[in-house]
């Protein structure tokens, strides 16, 4: 299985500093086609028929989202490009902005036309500030080329908060509030930024739009599986010899990606989809990468047999504990509970019943949390316990052993005996 480069076709071939090189590669043709030969409704239909779904991780059908916003009543409408790529192990949006910012801007122009937005935001994470200048330059050139004649795009910078990549938290952040998740409904396409209908799409999703409009929905939907059309960018990191970005047709196998392309050896486990993603043991390496099986943000972190599962899970949950916005109780207290137990396990202080506490904590988080962070935080916990239970159980028996050793002083008499 080889890569299928359609979204990244321009990457490395065009000069991201010069829009003329983009124009030479069919740049802006999709936008012209949409504006001259299609109605906004037809654009939405085309995206729907193509089967494009959100590439940020949640996988919501893009056309449906646009349709809801297009139909919604509102004095004005907003488009937001989510470039707050904070998911652990994900760096595809950085790659796209660095190598082909024009496809993103063209996709935004088409999207704004389809839903009737005159104002758009790109929310760029603070960690990517080094991309700002290139992006601004691309924006200026796009304006000069007439791409943005009816659309005002403003870049807003984040300030270091993972949760701001969650759509409702992102809107709060743009509004100048703490990046806490919102209660839904109302959903953003009806009542979003400043209370107006709003579409929030990931960088990769928007960059796919020009391809679909230019080549047609039929061309696009021929690629992929029943539920997952087109291609996906995967970010491979960890124990592989060739980490990096790989573009594969949806439905490609994890094995082809991790072993064939990225050169993984002695693989024990792969986490797909970032910190809240699935944890897959090597026995499941043949799984297809698609929304109906496993996908997420496209982060693929590979672990070989030298790695420790308890350490991995502790670090993952520690990350989520730091990044939870703390607004809703199931997420805030649930993660706190998970980290308390995992902290015991990594420090050799585990007690019988710890694994059951981990399992019991997961259910309310998954069902009652306000946003995706809390809802999916149990995913790596459940998977780790299901596939690597012996690693966790072993840590408890080691803890018991350590305690028993500590309680015996060097004289050979138990500590309690001396204290008496």
């Amino acid at each position: 299985m080889s890569e299928k480069r359609i979204l990244t076709e321009n990457c490395g071939l065009i000069d991201p500093k010069d829009i003329n090189t983009y124009l030479a590669k069919q740049g802006l043709q999709a936008w012209r086609k949409a504006r001259k030969t299609m109605t906004p409704q037809q654009v939405i239909e085309e995206i729907k028929r193509a089967g494009l779904r959100g590439r940020g991780g949640a996988g919501f059908p893009c056309g449906l989202k646009w349709e809801l916003a297009g139909r919604a009543e509102g004095e004005k409408k907003y488009l937001i490009c989510n470039a707050d790529e904070g998911e652990v192990g994900t760096f595809k949006d950085r790659f796209l902005i660095q190598n082909d910012p024009f496809s993103l801007l063209e996709g935004m122009a088409i999207s704004a036309f389809a839903i009737g937005a005159e104002k758009a935001f790109i929310y760029l994470r603070a960690e990517y500030r080094y991309l700002l200048e290139g992006l601004r330059n691309a924006l200026r050139q796009a304006e000069d080329s007439g791409l943005l004649e009816e659309l005002d795009i403003e870049i807003r910078e984040g300030a270091g908060a993972y949760i701001c990549g969650e759509e409702s938290a992102l809107m709060n952040s743009i509004e100048g509030k703490r990046g806490e998740a919102r209660f839904r409904p109302p959903f953003p396409p009806v009542n979003g930024l400043f209370g107006f209908p709003t579409i929030i799409n990931n960088v990769e999703t928007l960059a796919n739009v020009p391809l679909i409009i230019r080549n047609g929905a039929d061309w696009y939907s021929r690629m992929g599986t029943k539920e997952s059309k087109g291609t996906k960018l995967f970010c491979v990191s960890g124990d592989v010899s060739r980490p990096g970005i790989y573009e594969l047709e949806m439905g490609s196998s994890l094995k082809d990606l991790v072993i064939g392309l990225a050169g993984g050896e002695d693989v024990m486990m792969v986490q797909v989809g970032g910190s809240t993603g699935r944890v897959l043991p090597f026995s499941m390496i043949d799984i297809p990468l698609a929304y109906e099986s496993v996908l997420g943000s496209g982060a693929v972190i590979v672990f070989d047999h030298s790695r420790d599962m308890v350490d991995f899970l502790y670090r993952t949950i520690e990350f989520l504990n730091e990044e939870s916005c703390g607004l809703c109780t199931p997420c805030r207290e649930g993660i706190e509970c998970l980290i308390e137990v995992l902290d015991r396990l990594v420090n050799g202080e585990g007690v019988q019943g710890d694994l059951e506490i981990l399992e019991v904590s997961c259910a309310p988080m998954a069902s009652a949390s306000l946003c995706g962070l809390g809802q999916s935080a149990p995913t790596p916990v459940r998977d780790s316990l299901q596939y690597f239970r012996e690693a966790f159980a072993g840590r408890i028996s080691q803890s018991v052993l350590l305690r028993s050793l500590k309680s015996i002083p060097s004289s050979g008499k138990p500590a309690s005996y001396n204290q008496d």
Binding site: G86, F91, E157, G160, E175, G176, C235, S275, R315
Partner: protein, 142 residues
């Protein structure tokens, strides 16, 4: 949902960013004046400042070194990177050098997992770090 919303409230994040970048921290007095200008409680401004890891209410060093500690960098021994930085600067993570030149922080994923272990110094990304490279990079800021 929280506080009084005004039509200029959405300028708050950019104002704080500007303050952080020019002064190296967000002072109490600047938070008061932002709150006054926006007509919102100071607690609201303080709430936004402390929500974000790139803002500090205490003076930071001239340069901020952020070493990534998330899982992909951890797999490439990011603890060693943190200890090299700590040794070079003579401070622990979360501290500022006495001469005020550097602040050293551990950060969550900075999206450079293909070149892990990685760090940010101010706005510049440095990947594929080793001891020699860390020393060389930090020296260039001296």
């Amino acid at each position: 949902m929280t506080g009084i919303s005004t039509d200029k409230r959405d300028t708050l994040l950019a104002m704080i960013t500007e303050e952080q970048r020019t002064l190296g921290f967000v002072s109490k007095s600047s938070m008061f004046s932002m709150a006054q200008w926006l007509g919102i409680p100071v607690a609201e401004v303080y709430g936004v400042v402390t929500f974000h890891t790139f803002f500090s209410v205490k003076p930071q060093g001239k340069h901020v070194v952020r070493s990534c500690k998330s899982v992909p960098c951890h797999l490439k021994r990011s603890e060693m990177v943190a200890s090299w930085i700590g040794d070079y600067l003579g401070v622990n993570a979360g501290e500022t050098t006495p001469d005020g030149r550097f602040s050293f922080e551990l950060t969550n994923c900075i999206g450079a997992c293909d070149q892990s272990p990685a760090m940010l110094v101010d706005d510049v990304l440095y990947g594929d770090l080793n001891q020699e490279r860390v020393a060389k990079i930090l020296k260039s800021f001296d």
